[in-house]
């Protein structure tokens, strides 16, 4: 399990020295308090890999920390598929027809999301098309009944880190605007740590033997919205799609 060693090493490398001395406040049941309204300040939703700017797609650097070259380790046929997806993205991106973004894309869309915690659940509510993740913290297993657009999330705490296992993913979602994709074999392990009062470090290791030659890991920061009385508004994507269609008549 060479890749696991690599993942563990990269986790250790990821945590800044200053952050290691920070201890997050606790919820009433004693777990790190991740609650608040958070949002990325990156272009991962455009492309997880290094990318130059294009129309409506700002330039950005890869958020992939493993493999070290910052590229998704596609199998050859899958790499070809991604190129096709990129070419057809204006039509083929599932977000263009307002589908549920899936994990991990929902975590780095340019929309705020609210995290709330109770002893049995961690809930992540995104402003984008009211996408909702319910992470079960009760030790229960993934159901074997169905695949979901947003997958099925079961979490536990490892020290101060929320570790979420995401399975039951429908194959129809993309990782980003650039057509990076997966199959229904996608399995994700997310690690979310409050590394500073107003920062979460978000990390996700993605495995899908149908599409990738090896598991790979993304890492990024989520910033807390500190505007007074900040709250989620709404982005009812499908309604605006209808409005746009009516206007085009």
């Amino acid at each position: 399990m060479r890749y696991r060693t690599a993942v563990i090493l990269s986790v250790i490398a990821s945590v800044p020295l200053a952050a290691q001395s920070y201890k997050a406040p606790r919820t009433p049941d004693g777990h790190p308090d991740l609650q608040g309204i958070w949002q990325v300040m990156n272009t991962a939703a455009v492309n997880l890999e290094d990318h130059i700017a294009m129309l409506d797609m700002p330039a950005g650097r890869s958020v992939i920390v493993d493999p070290p070259d910052g590229k998704i380790p596609y199998k050859p046929a899958a790499a070809q598929q991604q190129k096709e997806n990129f070419k057809n993205r204006a039509k083929a991106d599932p977000l263009n027809v307002c589908y549920i973004p899936g994990v991990p894309r929902v975590m780095y869309l340019p929309f705020p999301m609210q995290i709330v915690q109770t002893p049995k659940y961690v809930v992540i509510a995104s402003e984008f098309a009211h996408s909702l993740r319910r992470i079960y913290m009760d030790g229960s297993k993934h159901p074997d009944v169905a695949l979901f657009w947003i997958g099925d999330s079961r979490g536990h705490w490892e020290g101060d880190t929320l570790v979420v296992d995401v399975a039951n993913n429908l194959p129809d979602t993309w990782f980003d605007r650039s057509g990076n994709f997966h199959s229904d074999a996608l399995h994700i392990v997310e690690r979310i740590t409050r590394t500073e009062p107003d920062l979460l470090t978000y990390e996700a290791t993605l495995d899908d033997a149908n599409v990738f030659t090896r598991p790979w890991t993304i890492r990024m920061l989520l910033y807390r919205h500190r505007e007074p009385d900040f709250k989620l508004l709404e982005y009812e994507c499908n309604a605006y799609l209808e409005d746009a269609a009516k206007e085009s008549r």
């Binding site: 939703a45 991106d93 709330v116 984008f128 169905a146 709404e234 994507c237 209808e242």
Partner: protein, 305 residues
């Protein structure tokens, strides 16, 4: 609005009937909810909310408190509001797609929405086109108070300073702050509006403004306007029962404020989990309402990234 042609009408009929598999017309035997135990989607011995499962009335324990002192309403709740999911007011005669039944209005005493004449005419007009225009057929999220009596029920979670309602239908949520903050600017209108809450004794009072007027109370053309103001009261009676009421005011279309009443019953399944009700993703109405209406939604290009 462009006139729909026959093909579109056919498509509409097919998609409407597909929706009816989720929302079948209530038959005569379903009018006395609470007896049949035939509600869909729940364990045996349940009651009915419309055709859907509702938890039977079961006395519970005294209401507990959350760590920050709120009365604890957390868990999975099923609504009991007669047939309000079809039409919020009493509807004694059969209408297209909607059987006769009782609504949830207790004031005025006749159980009907106190429309001004021109608004009554508009509701009737919308009802005649409900299979095209009903907002949920377009996968729009419901407004308030419709969200409180949504089919399939919802989960309540109460982290410090908030009450959240997580709804199975269309995977929506309401996040209601209870920290005393004011409403956001009236310039920002939303399907679900802007809700602020406070605890008054053992009752959660939620004040909702800023709705965009694009939602209905039901499937029957009972529309809203952006002037709507709703005050809801959730009163947990015991661990298994919550009393609900809402006062709806909109002087642009009603002659007086009106009030609905219903109950929420805790789902008896201890291992209850909400499933994902993906709506847009499987809804052929997207094609019908956009391409069919002359647009080509899937060729609109990037709307977001």
């Amino acid at each position: 609005m462009k006139k729909l042609n026959t093909l579109n009408l056919l498509v509409a009929a097919v998609t409407a009937s597909a929706l009816m598999t989720f929302a079948p017309i209530p038959g005569e035997g379903q009018q006395k909810g609470g007896r049949g135990g035939k509600g869909k989607g729940g364990p045996p011995g349940g009651e009915q909310y419309g055709p859907y499962y509702a938890a039977p009335v079961t006395p519970g324990e005294p209401v507990g408190r959350t760590p920050d002192g709120q009365p604890d309403m957390q868990g999975f709740w099923t609504p009991r509001f007669n047939q309000a999911i079809f039409e919020v007011q009493d509807h004694p005669t059969r209408q297209p797609g909607i059987g006769p039944g009782k609504g949830a209005i207790v004031d005025p005493a006749d159980g009907r929405i106190p429309y001004k004449p021109e608004a009554a005419a508009k509701a009737k007009e919308l009802m005649s086109k409900n299979i095209y225009l009903e907002p949920e057929a377009h996968c729009y999220v419901s407004g308030v108070p419709h969200a409180a009596y949504q089919q399939f029920g919802y989960q309540i979670v109460q982290p410090a300073g908030y009450v959240l309602f997580l709804t199975e239908y269309a995977h929506t949520y309401r996040a209601v702050p209870t920290d005393g903050r004011p409403h956001i600017s009236p310039n920002v209108k939303m399907f679900r509006g802007d809700s602020v809450g406070k605890w008054a004794g053992g009752t959660l009072v939620i004040d909702t403004t800023n709705q965009n007027g694009k939602t209905w109370f039901d499937m029957a053309g009972n529309f809203t306007t952006p002037a709507i103001h709703v005050v809801e009261r959730f009163t947990p009676v015991d661990t298994n029962n919550i009393n609900y009421e809402a006062v709806v005011d909109d002087s642009t279309i009603y002659t007086q404020p009106w009030k609905i009443v219903g109950q929420l019953g805790r789902h008896p399944d201890k291992n209850m989990e909400l499933m994902e009700f993906a709506c847009v993703e499987g809804n052929q109405d997207l094609v019908h309402y956009t391409e069919g209406a002359g647009g080509k939604a899937k060729e609109k290009g990037p709307l977001t990234h």
